[in-house]
Structure formats: C-alpha cells, structure tokens
C-alpha cells in the first residue's frame, strides 16, 4: 500500500468551531460551501461514521459507489471528491494524515450486531441508534435517509480474491482528515460505540471536530 499523507496548515486557534465529541455520541451539524471540517482522531483507531446530505435538498446525499467508481479506487484520501447520488461534488478531502478510510463496512446497528456477534448483543449502543436519535430531533432526516456511510480512520481492505478484512487500524492519536465543502451540507456523525470489534481495540474514544471559514 502506498499512501501520500497530506498535512494541513490550518491552526486550531483560527477555527470558528471546535468541539470534542465523546465516544458513542451523535453529531449533526451544517457546513457551508467553502468551509473546512477537520475530524481528528484524538486517541487513535476510532471509527467516525459519517454521512453527508445537501442542505438545500437532503434527498441529495453522499453516494459511496459513485465516489469509488469516479476515482476508480476503493480508498479515500487527499484529493478524493465525495460525490452525491445526483452526481455533484459534495466535499473534497484536502488533508489526510491517516491515509485510509473505509466505505464498505457501513455503520453498526442493533440488528447487524445480532448477526455479527450474538443475538444477545442487541441491546448494546450502536451507530444507527445515534443516527436515528439525531435525525429524530433534527426533523429533516429519518431511517430512510440513512445509507452507506464513510468510516473515517478505519482500515477495511479488499483482498485480490474478493475477501473483506478488518485490519488493525493505521490511525493513531492526533491523525486527522480535512474536508472542504463544495456545497452547503448537513454532516451526520456517529462516534462509533462498537465494543465488539478489535478495529478500535475494543475501546471507543473521543474525536475532535473543527471548522474553519
């Protein structure tokens, strides 16, 4: 794997928004055209499950398959344009010190946890619970709007024979990714509470979110 890491020159003290999102919490926030969002992995190998919607028309949203086929590559990193289901650029990754982010693994849910781990895992907290809670309070989005998301900082490679592996994370404390908004968007995040997956060392941790104009 060859990865080019790109450092940002943006300074946290110039950010117009700065918040630490505790492990297991949702975050729904608007990002305006031209603003930059940094998602910072504070303690390393934390999955930040993220979805994007057009603010003007939330039926327009992040489309993972279009994003992958337009760049003819499975992995997201600096230079990746995140496309919408209507074919428009939503955001561009402009800095990335981690180098790999997953688009195939999706978000955890009570129901998928019963399949993956055990029927009695149903009552553990999950990303879809976070999404539904944030959507229910916000009012603009609902279950129907929750599609396949990006897992920032997760390493889920596809093998040459078509296997899907959940590899040890390549993220680390202080790694970050920055996204430049090409349109006004709603950002919907679940800071993943998954306790059953070795990807995050069974230890969900906080993430920091920063926005610059």
């Amino acid at each position: 794997m060859t990865t080019t890491l790109t450092v940002s020159d943006k300074r946290p003290e110039h950010a117009v928004f700065r918040e630490t999102l505790a492990a297991g919490e949702p975050w729904l926030h608007e990002l305006k055209t031209g603003q930059t969002l940094r998602i910072l992995d504070l303690e390393g190998n934390q999955a930040v499950d993220t979805l994007f919607y057009s603010l003007a028309d939330p039926r327009e949203r992040f489309d993972p398959q279009r994003t992958l086929r337009r760049q003819k590559n499975l992995y997201l990193t600096t230079g990746t344009v995140l496309y919408s289901n209507l074919g428009n650029p939503m955001l561009t990754i402009v800095a990335d010190t981690c180098g790999r982010h997953d688009t195939l693994g999706g978000a955890c849910a009570q129901e998928s946890n019963t399949v993956r781990y055990a029927l009695e895992k149903r009552y553990m907290h999950s990303c879809r619970d976070n999404y539904l809670r944030a959507c229910a309070h916000d009012g603009r989005l609902s279950k129907r709007d929750i599609g396949a998301n990006i897992n920032f900082f997760m390493n889920v490679p596809v093998t040459p024979d078509g296997g899907l592996t959940f590899e040890d994370g390549i993220s680390a404390p202080g790694k970050y990714v920055e996204l430049h908004a090409e349109m006004d968007v709603i950002v919907l995040i679940s800071n993943c509470p998954q306790l059953n997956n070795p990807c995050n060392a069974y230890n969900p941790t906080p993430a920091e979110l920063l926005i610059w104009n």
Partner: protein, 234 residues
C-alpha cells in the same frame, strides 16, 4: 422445482417482482456478458432494504457468490445465493446515471432510436421503484449480478470482462417476502464504448427450504441471520 413464471428482460429493460418466502428466483445471463443491477426490499415493510455494507462485513467478503446471504439493514436475510455458476458478483460499482451514460455512450434518444434508446441504471431503478412508492432516498448501494471488479493492493478498481458466460445463472432463495427491483444494464465500469446491454431471463419457482442450507450454515453469522428472519414470521 415447480416453475411459476418465466420471463426475459431485454437489455436495457427493468422490472420488479415479489419473491415470496419459500420461493426462488433464477436469473440467467442468456448471451454472456450481462449485468443485472439489483435492489431488494422487504415487500411488507419497504423501509427495510438491502444493506450491502452489513452483507459484506458479516460475511467478510466483498464479492458475492453461492453460500452468501443478502442482508437487510434489520439483520434479516432478504435472499440467499443458493446457486451460482458465475462465481463473482460485484458490490462496488453501482449504477450509472444519465450523465455518466452520456459520457460513455453519447446521445441515444427515444426520438431517433425508439425502444433501443440509451437507458441508464439509475433511472431504470428509480422508475421501477416509483411503482412501489419508493424514490431517490431508497436507491442505495446496488448489487451488480454477473459483473466482477478486482481491487489491487493500492485500491485500484479493474473491471474484468467476460466474467459471465452465456447460460451462467444465479439463484436467489427468499426466506422472506422480498421485492426484487432489477435492470439489465451495462456495468458503469464496463469499458465497452458501445451501448449494448444484454438480456437476462427470470424464472420464479417454489423451492424447498433445504436449498438454502448451504447459505444458512456457511458461517455462524448466517445461522443468526436466518434466526432473525424466522422470528419475523412468528
């Protein structure tokens, strides 16, 4: 096997049907090189739908073939791939929209071409989904039957021509009442510059539940997936 329905979907065509619990749908590539883009929904609660990320991660696979289950977002099995003579079905490429089809094939309007006009997978699926009250928010990641996209170590995507031969077929067993929405349209990464979608044949049959044993027992996750599915029918 007790055949209930047989139908050919022409290249560029789209259709939808409910495969009831205990039935199976065989989809055959009649001429070779077909691609069938497919979405699945719970026919009685259509907010429940094919979730490819859940499908892939619980079976640790990116390709889909015999022995795999196709999962909904509710942890249930919408369909089980009980037979597959092709060996690889793609979960990555999705479906083109009108703009991408124009970029690849140029203009092909109904005005000049009549029913040979250039269609695209997005609009075909949206039209078919619209008949069931479904729309753009429901058009999620699609499964591309008969197509193969390889991924290199660096993540590059390579469409593999000739993955499916004339007569290759895949059989989907439905452990629940599953709405299948399907279009036979070229894969977006198929480099062929000519608009030439191939037909597929659909054959709906009654099936014995034990045809799905291979899928149910192929991993512990699928045992639980079938349990979840059966609980929906208590």
């Amino acid at each position: 096997m007790d055949l209930l329905l047989e139908e050919t979907v022409p290249g560029g065509g789209h259709t939808s049907l409910i495969v009831k619990r205990g039935q199976s749908l065989r989809i055959t590539d009649l001429r070779g090189g077909a691609n069938a883009s497919v979405l699945l929904f719970n026919a009685t609660e259509k907010s429940e739908r094919l979730n490819l990320p859940d499908t892939l991660k619980c079976q640790h696979t990116a390709k889909l073939t015999a022995g795999h289950c196709l999962y909904s977002d509710m942890g249930r099995v919408l369909a089980a791939i009980v037979t597959d003579t092709c060996g690889w079905h793609d979960s990555i490429g999705g479906v083109s929209n009108a703009e991408e089809a124009y970029e690849r094939y140029g203009a092909g309007r109904y005005q000049e071409l009549r029913n040979a006009f250039y269609r695209n997978g997005t609009d075909n699926l949206l039209v078919e989904m619209g008949k069931w009250g479904l729309g753009i928010p429901d058009l999620l990641m699609t499964l591309n039957l008969f197509s193969r996209v390889d991924v290199t170590d660096a993540g590059a995507l390579n469409f593999v021509p000739g993955n499916s031969k004339a007569g290759d077929y895949v059989e989907l067993y439905a452990p629940m009442n599953t709405l299948v929405v399907l279009t036979s349209i070229q894969h977006p990464l198929d480099p062929n510059p000519e608009y030439a979608p191939r037909p597929v044949k659909l054959a709906l049959s009654h099936a014995e539940r034990d045809v799905a044993e291979l899928c149910r027992t192929s991993c512990e996750e699928n045992v639980r997936g079938f349990l979840n599915t059966d609980r929906f029918f208590l």
